[in-house]
Symmetry: C2
Subunit: 313 residues, 2 copies
């Protein structure tokens, strides 16, 4: 069984590193860091134990990679336009593509680029950063929730492919949860991601600051309810108390910068499409609207284009 | 005829200064600048000609002021809680109170504080700043639109009080336009004020920057349409092409910082109540909603409380 890791950042570097460390046959597609990793290997500083992979199967071009049974897509969604050129080279017919990305809608796109492969969505609850070329720092957590994609995000159940992926990941020391309903799992994650990723950029604030002020706490909760209602329009019933659970979770997180705030401060493009426009268009296709989410998306587009993030950081 | 000016900032200093300069009997209520103005007078640097008023009828307390026939309220709306204590001392029974403030709803409040006075709303199209104690810089424009207030902002027509006010103001070199319908005039001003005041703070940008990016230009226009629909819910029919007119006006204005952005950068409280919550509650009372305006208001409350403005400026 061959594994491909597309994108060796905080997510791909960590999970791919764990797989390689535990003896899996892993092939890494890199871009800027290719030469560095060829010469110096891949370093993972982890709360569960640091490790260095001296020799890494690194590639600068997908055309040089072998066909792999499991392709793990760990790019930022803002890089997804490259998948058209990458996936046909690495995703073996009959194999699996695992999408470890934010937002929703990407699986649909991948199923069109490489038909004949099983597409699995993965939601990472992971706190890690790339702190240098080929150098990942794993700070906390790491569980991956996997769900199989079917056309239109209809519930797929717990399939045998999910079970074998789970087994392999667990052998590599990765905690896995399985979801019968990828669409619901993605929408549940959006309940938190939509308010806090966007507001952290627009309000220039960490999540603890956002929930410490009455007005922005109220706004976060209102946006959560809008996402829950949006999910319902798409056929996923998320209990309204889930918003309270997410608020409680946010309280426990203390000082926290959502990924979009980190992207912004780094001057990287923001994942507005996968996290905002995709769910908005799914809800609009059902004849409903998400006005607050839409307004946040438009504000984020402004910040994305004018890029004030590095000045602020 | 005695005139009172309540609040001697960019608005009250300029219009009050013009009235005093042209021989009207004007009495100024000051706060921080009282001693400075007593000792040094009031300076107005104006594109229409600079002038200095050596001797000014200045007061530090409303209790010391004479009852006046025309009381001009030129405080920021964020200071309006003081009007309860000020107006009964200066507003002569049977006289007139002119409200030169942003937003909507203030006239209603003043009519309750001093019943028996005619309340007139004034909308200033004025570009001026207070650049020091008792020192006003008039940069451009200056026309005041006056409309008489009636309960519930029903159209009052062009009343004799409006006509005599207009005559007096024009004798002082102030351009005046009269409105038969104060409610409509205030809503029309909100069509511009709601999007651009709020977005300038939230997006940390001047109006020319806001309209230069597709997403925020679209958002500004959408908020304008929401305000126009809100006005319609309250019984004021503003033509939908008015939004385009306002966009064109904004284009002609070039680099422009709305008053709320200036307040924010100064560390002053933001006029969120008069400019946002008042119109929102009027529309909600009619069974409609203004979701984008509401979201902007909540975001502004966050910035108002956390006060990042002086760091940015």
């Amino acid at each position: 069984m061959k594994y491909a890791i597309i994108g060796v950042g905080a997510v791909g570097g960590y999970y791919g590193g764990l797989l390689a460390r535990h003896g899996f046959d892993v092939h890494f597609l890199l871009h800027n860091d290719y030469h560095h990793v060829m010469n110096h290997g891949l370093i993972v500083d982890s709360i569960d134990g640091d490790f260095l992979l001296h020799r890494v199967n690194a590639y600068a071009s997908a055309a040089d990679m072998p066909l792999c049974d499991v392709v793990i897509v760990a790019l930022k969604t803002t890089q997804n336009s490259h998948l058209d050129n990458i996936l046909p080279h690495v995703a073996k017919d009959g194999g699996t593509v695992v999408v470890l990305q934010n937002g929703i809608g990407v699986e649909q796109n991948i199923a069109q680029i490489v038909p004949g492969r099983t597409v699995v969505g993965g939601l990472c609850f992971l706190c890690s950063n790339k702190i240098g070329p080929g150098h990942i720092k794993h700070i906390d957590y790491g569980v991956v929730t996997l769900g199989e994609y079917t056309t239109g995000y209809k519930p797929a159940g717990i399939t045998s492919i999910l079970e074998s992926l789970s087994k392999a990941f667990q052998q590599a020391g990765i905690s896995v949860a399985l979801s019968e309903n990828l669409g619901e799992a993605r929408w549940k994650k959006l309940v938190w991601n939509v308010p806090f990723n966007g507001l952290s950029v627009v309000l220039n604030s960490t999540t603890d600051q956002i929930i410490s002020i009455h007005a922005s706490r109220l706004l976060s909760k209102e946006i959560m309810m809008e996402v829950i209602n949006g999910a319902a329009a798409c056929g996923y019933n998320i209990d309204k108390t889930f918003a309270d659970q997410m608020m409680n979770l946010t309280e426990q997180m203390k000082v926290y910068k959502p990924s979009m705030m980190l992207d912004f401060e780094r001057g990287s493009p923001l994942e507005i499409n996968a996290m905002y426009w995709q769910p908005i268009s799914m809800v609009e296709a059902k004849g409903h609207s998400m006005p607050a989410t839409r307004m946040l998306a438009l504000q984020l587009e402004y910040f994305n284009e004018t890029g004030q993030g590095q000045v602020r950081a």
